[in-house]
Symmetry: C2
């Protein structure tokens, strides 16, 4: 079987081991790399090493950070009575990009999943109660993804937090802006109808 030069094939192979990177994407990266200045390739290699080395986890909210505690946890300008619970660091970035939330975060590090063998004890859940007491939190906003596992985890959290004197809220489910009923799955449509708002 025909193969690319060994070093090129090896880079493609290494890249395809990253979840979500298929062979086509890996090839595209590898082919571009061999046409680049050697200096630029060195910069990419360094960026990999430094990203791994200099990124840590905040011991309070478990978000990715350069410092511990992270900037958001350390900030005096954020409303510490509101705590938004998300699955992953990427979700923090998504919510921050909207600019509508000025509270703090708690990153679970995943969701409960029998299929993947992830239980509540594998997630950053046990310190949630402590944070509520210590930080004077009045509202926990559950912002998990609307998936089967997200639902299960949400229900687990709701029952766990039901004894605290706080409000528990969840982000809205429905049609996305620009979406259409025609191309939306029926589970979403059902949820959008259930969570309809009174206008008048």
């Amino acid at each position: 079987m025909y193969r690319y030069p060994r070093a090129l094939e090896k880079l493609i192979h290494k890249l395809t081991q990253i979840p979500g990177i298929g062979r086509k994407t890996a090839q595209r990266i590898a082919f571009h790399v061999i046409s680049m200045d050697e200096k630029k390739v060195k910069e990419i290699a360094d960026a990999f090493l430094k990203a791994r080395k200099n990124t840590r986890t905040c011991s309070i909210c478990h978000n990715l950070s350069e410092s511990d505690p992270c900037d958001i946890c350390a900030s005096k300008d954020r409303d510490s009575t509101k705590l938004c619970v998300v699955e992953k660091p990427i979700d923090v970035a998504a919510i921050e990009s909207t600019g509508v939330f000025n509270g703090k975060y708690h990153v679970l590090g995943g969701v409960i999943s029998a299929m993947d063998g992830v239980g509540a004890e594998d997630l950053n859940i046990s310190d949630l109660g402590d944070r509520i007491k210590r930080e004077g939190i009045k509202e926990v906003i559950i912002a998990l993804n609307p998936t089967h596992e997200g639902e299960i985890t949400a229900h687990y959290l709701i029952s766990l937090l039901s004894n605290y004197k706080i409000n528990i809220t969840r982000i809205g489910i429905g049609l996305p802006i620009g979406g259409s009923l025609e191309y939306t799955d029926f589970v979403t449509i059902a949820e959008a109808i259930r969570s309809r708002k009174k206008i008048k």
Copy 2:
């Protein structure tokens, strides 16, 4: 604006500079990398450097190679009377994977494109005539992609090679296996009808 930790942001930025890698893919790679063993990350970084360093271009066919001449050009088992002209090294891999071609290759390194400012002089065209004479080539198979630029380049090659006593052929255009008329663009359908074959 919220940012990921600097080193992570830098890796994402570096990756998005690679054509065809969007921010989502770059994030996926970066987030995976920071969760990996430091040793594994080192392996990826090394793979980048080595791919750049150890991949060269064959001075005969201009395909990517570890050696010069490349294995295909150096092979005694290949039919050197047939020369397949392609745009890029990735096209050689695609044709080799079929196993139906046992001739040699010539990689142009692109196609003529007024839009991108690529002229015939920017491609590996000038040595094509020499190869035909020196290697005793009897058939040149033009296997450029069926795009506007591919057509222009094909016509340029055909007029350039018309004085040589060789056959010039082109790969077939038509519906892909498993395709359907319903979902095929009309230009392809028109070409498929024009290039129909007599069965009986």
